[in-house]
Symmetry: C2
Subunit: 253 residues, 2 copies
């Protein structure tokens, strides 16, 4: 088994979510897997880390070619613990997901699934995030299977440049038009708070909102691809320098 | 007072931190301020949002030209609540900080202070994050004062392109060599977990670690600027598409 790929998996919906367990099922026949995932849902965790509490981790399963741990921390914490404490050899790939919900466009900033692959890429590992645009806990992940296998093996074989990762989003469909390589679209969340009555009064709000696309006609974006039935693959970089602004600011500041 | 700038302020160290209160003190004579900040420290919150609990907010101060609220959520939550519930007019600028600690290089991904300005820029507002490379709660912020005033007024006067913000880091010094416009350096956190004994056993870890610079000789980075006594201004973009990878992947996938 020494030549089987070794893949680290985490997510933000928690170790019990259907998405991560479907991913384990799909990849287990073809790779050795280490799973370290949050012990409860952590949607919207972004790249957050836990600095004020210790992280509690538990081994849930250990079988030939599969070890599963839960962790009390965030998705990024899970990757840090996995890489520092639990890996048995250097992973060939780190996979985040499969997320229950859309991580395209600006959502990637809030996404714990993207937190997983951002952290992995910061540590020098090729990494791919998978998300299905369906928040339902009972979402049907089976149409994704051949695309996941294809992208995982290509990512392992070809690798990715340092400080980059892939953000892959699937529309909620039973079949797809194909794969499109995209850029992140510009969109904006609006009407994001809803007052929540409290028996003793005071200001209490639920976060909610609608995501408005700012460039719906642009056919090179992830949101366009999803709206037209394609699997959206958005190559993502961790160097967030606004390179074009550097020289402009030198003349202003 | 109608022509005074209107500035929204938040942070990740919490509304009681010395850094944000120094920022209020510095900006209050020259601008009307709305402060909505976490009710407790939220270091390492990144761009995380709170989706599983309502946010509880309280007005702590209201005086001529100053309103201060605490919020039970993350730094990004604070900005969302402020913009949806508490602004009295459109802010001219959103400021994050002053953070107690270094948010340069890869730290920007984990930073709640960068979460503040990322969220503001996603909503279309010019925004600037200030951080001092000194974690002490008693850190001395006074050397920063003229630089903050200068950068705040330039950002208001000149504005920033859509989907960008500024990440400003100050070295821990009593005076600075000047301002450098930088790119984000590549660095890597190492040895990030420390086992934490527990009376009943099991796996418990504190996050810790050391940040190793991967390109210490490059003189155009934020970490180089800080190491050489300069104020590091890193223009930051919210479009994280790895543009150079789009065409390459089109030929592979």
């Amino acid at each position: 088994m020494a030549n089987r790929p070794y893949i680290l998996i985490s997510n933000d919906d928690g170790v019990a979510a259907r998405g991560i367990n479907y991913l384990i099922e799909v990849l287990r026949p073809v790779a050795d897997l280490l799973v370290v995932a949050p012990d409860s849902p952590r949607s919207g965790a972004g790249c957050s880390i836990t600095t004020s509490l210790p992280l509690t981790c538990r081994e849930l399963r250990r079988e030939q070619g599969l070890a599963v741990f839960s962790c009390s921390g965030t998705p990024v914490d899970c990757v840090k613990v996995a890489l520092n404490e639990y890996i048995e050899r250097q992973p060939d790939l780190v996979v985040g997901g499969i997320n229950h919900g859309d991580n395209s466009s600006v959502n990637s900033h809030y996404s714990g699934t993207m937190g997983v692959v951002t952290e992995a890429a910061l540590q020098g590992y090729p990494s791919v995030a998978f998300s299905l645009c369906d928040h339902s806990p009972e979402a049907d992940f089976t149409p994704l299977q051949p695309y996941i296998i294809d992208l995982v093996f290509k990512a392992i074989a070809v690798g990715l440049p340092p400080f980059t990762c892939l953000n892959v989003n699937f529309p909620k469909l039973s079949r797809f038009e194909g794969v499109r390589i995209c850029r992140m679209s510009r969109s904006r969340w609006e009407r994001e708070t809803q007052r929540c009555p409290h028996p003793y009064g005071g200001d209490h709000f639920w976060l909610t909102g609608e995501c408005r696309e700012l460039e719906p006609e642009a056919s090179d974006t992830d949101r366009w691809a999803l709206a037209h039935g394609y699997v959206a693959v958005t190559p993502t970089q961790l160097d967030v320098t606004a390179t074009g602004l550097v020289d402009i600011l030198k003349s202003v500041l």
